[in-house]
């Protein structure tokens, strides 16, 4: 064979090979073995057809009416002035000595994180009774833990990081509760007589937040103030009659969060500041326009928000949330009755003060809070910042003093912090440095001690996920 022929054959083979390769290359999809991750692959929502007939406040049982009447109150979430600072003059212990804390009583509860409200010698708690499958408002004597009465309604709540969540709101006349599945109940405080109930999820086509409702109710001027989401952003309900006093429209379809409504007075107006899933808002609390939106800040939007807004006298509002959200500081301004909001700062949890579950405390012009687990080197530490620069940490408790998702508050000029495993730490509040005083284990084998603390007349009530105790803290 001649050399020319060989060359031609080779060229033909090469061309044919090239054509075959080009054909293969054009027709081959290198991603054809990939699996697309599309919405709905988890079959979410299939098979939820059970509808319960829930009769709010249906059952009642009276056990006793004997209790020692006292003077002070801790009437709701974050206390009487919504700041988590007790104003009681009662002097409290700061050292427990070798014998440990004086635990007056302890009792088993349904698994959860609902906190106590205290009213003149009585403790009110919205427990979840696992045996009866019921939201159960229970009234105890503060000094000895004896149960006086309970009112309940059957509702199926499955274990989901505990069941109960909220702190009742208590006034001289009424108690208002919100259950895990957003059932609002109002009863007479003294005898537990049922007044009215609202199924928020059903009546307002609302959505119960992840891990159940964490919003603690508010009673203001005889009205229960509830952030419903769904058909309304917020409602006011007359406690005596159960009639809706006003209803804030919700055209942007903001949803209910775990955050609670914080009353605030600024620019000559009383308002309810609420951190919804969708944005932050200020709702007129009184006047002819009660229930209308005075201002809103849609820039603050995260899928889970548990801490409540911290409103400061100069109109700054500190906002924080967990699950990677971080924090935001906004400045509220008022001009001729018109309110506006400016975002001053926004940052990730590694960059400054942030909290996942509890609301920071504002004291002596400073903010104190426990950093979340994704807070970098400061994770789970108590930190102090100035509201003028919440990214600049003035002090932190140090890597040897880490806490968790548990509550903290101030009483008798002492800072009380409860860790997840129910270790109570007492520190001296300071804007200069971390000053520990005492640390003691309160509940053995405790888990998830996340419920807010309550104190009145020197009696401190706290709990872990399954057990509540009362400590006599009086000197």
């Amino acid at each position: 064979m001649e050399q020319k022929q060989i060359r031609n054959i080779v060229q033909i083979i090469l061309v044919l090979t090239g054509v075959v390769f080009l054909f293969w290359w054009l027709n081959n999809d290198p991603t054809d073995e990939f699996t697309e991750s599309l919405p709905g692959l988890d079959n979410q929502g299939k098979g939820d057809t059970i509808v319960e007939n829930i009769i709010i406040g249906e059952h009642f049982k009276l056990f006793s009416s004997e209790y020692k009447k006292l003077n002070e109150t801790w009437p709701r979430f974050r206390g009487s002035e919504f700041d988590n600072i007790s104003k009681s003059p009662v002097k409290l212990k700061e050292k427990f000595g070798a014998e440990g804390p004086d635990i007056l009583w302890s009792l088993d509860l349904g698994e959860g994180h609902s906190g106590a409200a205290i009213y003149k010698g009585l403790v009110y708690l919205l427990d979840y009774d696992e045996a009866n499958r019921a939201d159960m408002l229970r009234c105890f004597s503060l000094t000895d833990g004896v149960e006086l009465w309970r009112r309940w309604y059957n509702v199926s709540v499955k274990r989901n990081h505990g069941m109960s969540r909220t702190v009742p709101a208590v006034t001289d006349k009424y108690i208002v509760t919100i259950g895990p599945r957003s059932h609002v109940m109002c009863v007479e405080r003294e005898n537990g007589n049922f007044k009215w109930g609202i199924d928020v999820e059903k009546d307002y086509h609302s959505e119960v937040p992840f891990w159940y409702t964490g919003q603690c109710p508010l009673i203001d001027n005889g009205k229960a103030i509830i952030a419903t989401g769904g058909d309304a952003l917020m409602i006011a309900v007359d406690c005596e009659t159960g009639e809706i006093a006003w209803k804030t429209p919700n055209p942007k379809e903001w949803k209910m969060s775990h955050s609670s409504i914080m009353p605030f007075e600024f620019g000559g107006r009383r308002m309810y500041v609420y951190s919804a899933i969708g944005g932050l808002c200020g709702i007129a609390a009184d006047g002819p326009d009660a229930g209308t939106v005075l201002w809103e800040a849609p820039a603050w939007t995260h899928s889970v928000i548990a801490p409540s807004p911290v409103c400061m006298p100069d109109g700054r509002i500190f906002l924080t949330a967990g699950y990677g959200a971080g924090s935001m500081v906004v400045q509220l301004s008022e001009n001729n009755g018109v309110f506006s909001v400016e975002v001053l700062d926004e940052y990730s949890p590694r960059q400054g003060l942030a909290c996942e579950q509890q609301t920071p405390v504002y004291l002596s012009g400073h903010l104190f809070g426990i950093m979340p687990k994704d807070g970098g080197a400061l994770r789970n530490q108590l930190v102090c910042v100035s509201p003028s620069d919440t990214k600049k940490i003035i002090w932190s408790s140090g890597k040897e003093a880490r806490f968790g998702l548990g509550p903290y508050f101030i009483a008798d000029n002492k800072f009380f912090i409860l860790s997840d495993d129910a270790v109570l730490t007492i520190i001296r509040p300071s804007t200069k440095k971390y000053i520990p005083i005492e640390q003691v284990k309160i509940i053995e084998d405790a888990h998830d001690a996340w419920a807010p603390l309550a104190i009145a007349d020197g009696y401190l009530v706290l709990r872990d996920s399954k057990r509540m105790v009362c400590i006599d803290m009086r000197l």
Binding site: L38, G40, D42, G47, S303, G322, Y323, D374
Partner: protein, 190 residues
């Protein structure tokens, strides 16, 4: 005929042979004992792990012999799973943009309201620990890393252990080759 008496040279030679035989036999027995009873393998202590991500990049195997495993008895079966979803995800759906895992190695399955199950696809897992970090930060810490001994070469000097900042990779006895969270039966930590 009477037995021939050993001279000094023969006595020393036989003594040396016996000593050598004893030494070799002893060493062999010792090494056999190690292999069968006290072999040591590498494992991650999940309680020391800080989810730095180096297990994915420093193992001599590719993909890494370190995989995520799931302690179901610790899991909260949450809708919002910090191990599955990116922080502050737009929507809690299985869409790719919401998932934290770079290889989609976690399957999310709806059980009943409000529970979801999260299953690790070991073949896809690269041991990056992103899900472990999310689960530890926001959940019960049920997702955790382990060295899988069907993949691990059990190197004399583990290349991950050399760079592990928290010294979480340790030698453990082959008889207890895994340090699994939620293993209450062995008195382990949870």
């Amino acid at each position: 005929m009477g037995k021939k008496a050993k001279n000094r040279r023969e006595f020393i030679q036989s003594g040396m042979r016996m000593s050598l035989g004893l030494v070799v036999g002893g060493l062999g027995a010792l090494s056999l004992k190690h292999v069968t009873k006290d072999e040591w393998v590498w494992q991650i202590d999940p309680f020391e792990c800080t989810q730095c991500g180096r297990c994915a990049t420093n193992c001599v195997m590719s993909p890494s012999a370190v995989k995520c495993i799931h302690a179901y008895d610790l899991c909260g079966y949450c809708n919002l799973c910090g191990g599955y979803f990116k922080p502050d995800a737009n929507k809690l759906s299985t869409a790719a943009e919401n998932q934290l895992c770079p290889t989609a190695a976690i399957q999310r399955r709806y059980i009943e309201k409000p529970y979801f199950e999260y299953v690790i696809d070991e073949d896809l897992c690269i041991g990056c620990a992103k899900c472990v970090k999310g689960c530890t930060s926001f959940g019960n810490g049920s997702l955790h890393l382990q060295v899988m001994h069907n993949i691990c070469l059990n190197c004399n000097e583990c290349s991950i252990a050399r760079v592990c900042p928290s010294h979480a990779i340790k030698r453990v006895k082959a008889a207890d080759a895994y340090i699994v969270k939620g293993d209450f039966s062995k008195g382990g930590k949870t």
